[in-house]
């Protein structure tokens, strides 16, 4: 998650205070991990150091959390570059899920790997169900739906992988331990 870029994006509409930025972040990215205030201020500090944001409208009297920030020209250019850059599509297979099955096969037997896969599949399914319930709720906003969709699609992909790997785990074990 590139929190600095998200904060830059949220400042693109005009200057905001730190707590406003946190609220906007949690509202626009509903299924993301909520930002801690400390993280917001730390990130803003780094951005200010790099000259990407600047304090606007000194209101120090009301305390540090009343400081408003705005984008600098450099900050706008950085945001623009980030938006234009295409994300590399999955350059490495880097997932704890995957690593855990590999290690299970290396240090233990097929059954260990299989029981892990089954348990993980149950957990994934339960999560999928939760997110689907969020989405199917008549009161859900489109932000909720789109965020849930993102997670559901990834869970669905994981589930498919878990499913096919369950079918292949015995052969895979034979390949690892010839």
């Amino acid at each position: 998650m590139s929190t600095p870029h998200v904060l830059l994006g949220l400042l693109a509409g005009g200057s905001r205070h730190g707590y406003e930025l946190k609220r906007a972040h949690d509202q626009r990215l509903p299924r993301a991990r909520p930002l801690a205030f400390g993280q917001v201020y730390a990130t803003l500090g780094r951005l200010e150091r790099d000259g990407l944001v600047a304090t606007a409208g000194q209101d120090r009297a009301s305390g540090p959390d009343r400081t408003a920030y705005e984008l600098t020209g450099e900050g706008r250019a950085t945001l623009d570059r980030w938006l234009s850059a295409v994300e590399p599509p999955m350059p490495y297979v880097a997932s704890t899920l995957f690593a855990k099955v590999v290690v299970a096969l290396l240090v233990a037997d097929v059954d260990r790997a299989r029981s892990y896969l089954v348990a993980q599949r149950a957990a994934h399914t339960a999560r999928l169900r939760e997110l689907t319930a969020v989405k199917a709720d008549p009161a859900a906003t489109l932000s909720d739906v789109v965020a849930a969709d993102f997670a559901i699609a990834h869970l669905d992909a994981d589930l498919r992988w878990l499913h096919t790997t369950l079918g292949r785990v015995a052969d895979w074990h034979r390949e690892v331990h010839p």
Binding site: R121, L128, R129, A136
Partner: protein, 233 residues
């Protein structure tokens, strides 16, 4: 309250067994997904539960009455009045308009033409396709057809809706829209749904999931057949 029950249902096509003793309960207003790999007997189970097929052994009961022993005419009447059936595609009558297709179950139940059309239009409206009322299926897209078919399956406000891969022929977005509407309306009028699918993300709309494997309920798979945490209610 359990409404529909299958007890040890066995069914074979010639020498090929499709179901080898499936037991399953469906409660009032409950949404149950039946999943499993291709050829595991999902559709056959749905056909047996809906009284379309007769099991070779075992029994199917509806509110305590064994329906698998009923005559075809009686089961047909049951399907017409208490159940709704929805398939993947191709169930609309090609020569009738959308409104006539949706009105068909009501006409069969003896409702007058005008009244049936009014009800059909209401249901088409609920699925957002009221403007297609006078088009024939050939003049609609797959998604629009499936919305009409869903409206037809729900127009009699059935107790149970049997849906066999209802989104199988649709793209992801259209499929989800149809399914969301289906689930929402089914919950509103407390219609139970037996949803056959091979896709986890479709099954996730259900309250409960039954996994079939080789004609049997696969208890080893997920420890399923129990409500999962964070159920949809």
């Amino acid at each position: 309250m359990t409404q529909l029950q299958a007890r040890g249902v066995v069914r074979a096509y010639g020498p090929t067994p499709a179901l080898r003793g499936v037991t399953l309960d469906v409660a009032e207003g409950e949404i149950v997904a039946v999943t499993g790999p291709s050829g595991c007997g999902k559709s056959t189970l749905l056909h047996c539960l809906a009284g379309i097929l007769r099991p070779d052994a075992g029994e199917v009961t509806w509110r305590g009455h064994r329906i698998d022993t009923w005559s075809e005419a009686a089961r047909s009447r049951l399907r017409r009045t208490e159940f709704g059936v929805l398939f993947q595609f191709g169930q609309l009558v090609a020569e009738l308009t959308a409104a006539e297709n949706v009105a068909l179950p009501l006409l069969l139940a003896g409702t007058g033409r005008r009244e049936a059309r009014t009800a059909a239009l209401t249901w088409l409206e609920r699925f957002g396709v009221a403007d297609l009322a006078d088009l024939r299926p050939g003049e609609m897209s797959g998604g629009q057809q499936q919305r009409c078919a869903t409206a037809r399956a729900l127009v009699t406000e059935p107790w149970v809706l049997f849906a066999d891969e209802p989104t199988g022929a649709l793209d992801t977005l259209t499929g989800e829209q149809v399914l969301t509407q289906l689930v929402r309306l089914a919950r509103e009028q407390r219609t139970a749904v037996v949803l056959v699918t091979h896709e986890p993300r479709i099954a996730a709309y259900a309250d409960r999931e039954i996994v079939l494997r080789d004609g049997l309920v696969d208890h080893t798979g997920l420890g399923l057949d129990v409500p999962l945490a964070g159920g949809a209610r």
